[in-house]
């Protein structure tokens, strides 16, 4: 992320004005268990992924005071397809890039994410790895388990969201207003094996989803 004060101001204005206005007027969030959100970093906010707005919605839950510490983790191949998109993703959204599939080549794809947590930052990430079909779950990838296992003292909060996949699903550029329900789960810690952690997180996310009465969307 840029150290340039002008870019940092742009980022602040983008989140304080544009993102908040869109979320307030076009969407409207109903947040359950807001008190569970971390008061400071380091922490991981793990959401289900349906829409390009997911990261912005999760980031809007946190006070603007913590904005400099908020970093969404995102796939490099998707966000660095052009230089403008790359600049915007890095400097305004503030993403930490992950090279998809690099774990198989022996590298640690989440190295930058680990370093950010060590600096006390708050990561927003999507364990499903992709947006997939709107408003359906995909099996969680193992990355979140490795990350939690490497830093077992960092709380990982499951955040279940419903509605953003209807408002702006994959493959559409047209935003249709829908209310969004956001339910924050209890923090989990990677004290056991990474596989167990992923299962635990997935179960927690499913539990949050089961507590909501969701309308049919087919």
């Amino acid at each position: 992320m840029s150290k340039n004060p002008f870019t940092r101001l742009l980022r602040f204005l983008f989140f304080a004005v544009v993102v908040r206005a869109v979320i307030l007027i076009a969407l409207g969030l109903t947040v359950r268990h807001r008190e569970r959100l971390p008061k400071d970093g380091p922490a991981v906010l793990a959401g289900n992924h349906n829409s390009n707005l997911d990261a912005l919605a999760i980031m809007s839950l946190m006070p603007l005071r913590l904005l400099p510490k908020l970093r969404p983790v995102a796939a490099m191949d998707y966000f660095f397809t052009s230089s403008i998109r790359g600049w915007f993703s890095t400097n305004i959204i503030g993403i930490i890039p992950v090279k998809r599939g690099s774990g198989k080549e022996g590298g640690n794809p989440l190295l930058l994410a680990e370093q950010a947590l060590e600096r006390g930052e708050i990561l927003v990430l999507f364990p499903e790895g992709t947006r997939g079909e709107p408003e359906t779950f995909k099996q969680f990838k193992k990355g979140i388990g490795h990350l939690a296992h490497a830093l077992p003292k960092v709380p990982v909060l499951p955040i279940f969201m419903y509605g953003l996949g209807k408002a702006l699903p994959k493959g559409s550029a047209l935003l249709v207003p829908f209310n969004v329900t956001v339910s924050v789960g209890e923090p989990l810690y990677g004290t056991k094996s990474y596989n167990e952690f992923v299962d635990e997180l997935e179960a927690s996310m499913n539990k949050l989803a089961a507590q909501e009465k969701l309308p049919v969307w087919e």
Partner: protein, 315 residues
Amino acid sequence: MTTILGLPANVVYFTAGIYALLALATAVVLFMRWRNPGERYAELMARTDSWWWMIGAFTLAILLNQTVAVVFLALIAYLALKEYLSLVPTRRIDREVLLFAYLAIPIQFYWAAIDWYNMFIVFVPVWMYLFFPALMALRGQTQGFLRAVGTLSWGLMMTVYTLSHMAWLLVSGNRVSPVAGGVGFLFFLVVLTQFNDVAQYCWGKPLGRHKVTPNVSPKKTWEGLIGGIATTTLVAGLVGPYLTPMDWRWSALAGAILGVSGFLGDITMSAMKRDLGVKDTGGLIPGHGGILDRVDSLTYAAPVFVHFIRYFYFP
């Protein structure tokens, strides 16, 4: 009519009265909490807080000027429609269709703003009613067609159409009310309908025994309903002559009509919520629920009051 800052004087006095009543209610709630500290009154406190916000926004927007007022009322209809469309089952294919449904809001409120009654009164129940099923048919997915058409038509009527009657009353009321203009009519309608909700709650809470609709809204009792309507009728008879061209008898009758129609709007929305299996329609207003939970009684009271006034008082 006498004016203060360009507003009918009676409306200004009435607004001051609303704030005095709100301050009194807040003092009572604070006193109750002071006598009995703890979580017991947290909900009531949140609800009272929200009343300050709602009454603040409403009075400010309505009194600022007519354009702001109409935009504000359109915004309420938009939030209500958004809440409704987020609650009911919808089809993926209708995503873009729903965007058109939102576009109906500024158009409908425009007819109200220019006081074109004939277009205002047919736009949703005729033109939109015909337009959306045809659009859905043209898009070609027949599965779930009837459900999609039914829910969208009812939703547009219950949110956009009914609530837009407030805007029409505000604009056209100026023609027939030398006492306090359209704004006097609108205050009479909205304030008394909301007052009636609170009055029914205040009568029903300590005295309620006999349920009116045990399957739909189990908290509604005959004691609350009758006490609420009687109180609203009395208050309407007292304030009506100052806000509208009605004398005290007609005002009291209008108050009773608001009480009954408000109750019907309330239980109609409750029936919808029961069917969908939700308790509140949203979380926009702390202590109250969603916006539809707050304007449910107005969805019936607004059109009923407008047609009552139109029949007896418009040339």
